[in-house]
Symmetry: C2
Subunit: 207 residues, 2 copies
DNA sequence: TTTTCGGGTTGACAATGTCTACGAATTGGT
DNA sequence: ACCAATTCGTAGACATTGTCAACCCGAAAA
């Protein structure tokens, strides 16, 4: 029988995650339901249970995918500066990329940080989210080796850098800053946050 | 008829918000439903509709209450240092109080920053959340007047300070840092974040 | 006294997540 | 080649949820 129509060539679990991602993109978090995803994938509402441990299992897989995207975007952001350049500037570029991908995918990003809706024990999710943090730790360590905030606990410092960038991403992605700071552009906000956190001007505009 | 039992003396809308708050505290965000709140308040499931515009209306009132608590906690935190002291230190103390109250009320805090579940047009909610930000702006302006980050747009700077503190509050409240940074205390994390954002040691331990 | 109306009850409805029993098709063993 | 077993999707039931409309009662107003 070889290949059927291209739309149904993928295994169902992959298709379900894909449909969840597009549904997330098109209609947002609140209209994401197990039955809707199944309907869009053309299967009955009971089918997903065969592949995931309930809704939380499916959403966890979607979130894992999101952490993979996040990791790649951050690495790609840092990689825009050559490997030999100022590690603090590379760290700032990584932070900028973090905010940008979060703002570009607000619903997925919101899901990724909703532990009530996820099962954090899911292997893929645990692995991807940990990998994302460990990549950040490496960048922070490189910056410390170059003298920035030397002597501080590296993992704690990485957690705090993460927090600063994450806070901006969350608030901007949900529009919480557009009211109180109406005239500011995302670029202004990112630049200011990075300068606050890293002590001096870094990172420039994107691209 | 004067006063009935003290438990039923309050008007129903107040009682519903109170029950929602305790339910939020005792069982978390996911088990918060209109019908459960009504059951706990001893009324039928249709009663809340008479007082609030659906579930979003009730939750918005709860969130408004949360922003009131937040504002008071932050002001109280800054007020621990005498009005004449270093405005940057006062700003740091306010940030510390922000994180502490968020971590002490994780479910309420999560609800407050879930615009999908709220109606941000609700007058009380809009007023309280704006008031909280404006208080922060005043602290930032005082710090700028003392020379810290002088010349920067005050509201944008306030937004970025908020983001840094908020990110730590969010991540810590949902336990996202306990895995990656297992040995750190909340006090360490707050101190590091504040020192990162404000450039030098400030704030000390609470109380 | 009669009317009006704020507030609470009741029942219905659609939608959701989960569970179970069922069926069909593919696979593996002999 | 045949039978058994396992995989994978279906179909239905169930409890729960948010919302809506009709009803109802008691107090204030006319």
């Amino acid at each position: 029988m070889a290949a059927r129509l291209s739309a149904t060539a993928l295994p169902l679990d992959r298709r379900l995650v894909d449909e969840a991602l597009t549904l997330l993109r098109e209609e947002g978090l609140e209209s994401l339901s197990l039955r809707r995803i199944a309907r869009r994938a053309g299967v009955s509402h009971g089918a997903p249970q065969r592949h995931f441990d309930g809704l939380a299992g499916l959403l966890s897989q979607v979130a894992a995918h999101g952490f993979g995207l996040l990791s790649r975007a951050v690495e790609e952001g840092a990689g825009r500066l050559p490997p030999g350049s100022d590690p603090v500037a590379r760290l700032a570029a990584a932070g900028r990329a973090y905010v940008e991908i979060a703002v570009a995918n607000p619903a997925l990003f919101a899901l990724m940080f909703r532990p009530e809706d996820l099962d954090m024990q899911t292997p893929d999710l645990a692995r991807e989210s940990q990998a994302a943090f460990e990549a950040l730790v490496r960048h922070v360590r490189a910056a410390q080796d170059a003298g920035w905030q030397a002597g501080r606990d590296t993992r704690l410092l990485a957690g705090c850098v993460w927090a600063a960038v994450h806070g901006l991403a969350v608030l901007w992605a949900q529009g919480a800053l557009s009211g109180p700071v109406p005239h500011a552009s995302l670029d202004d906000a990112v630049a200011t946050t990075l300068e606050l956190a890293f002590g001096c001007r870094h990172g420039g505009s994107h691209v």
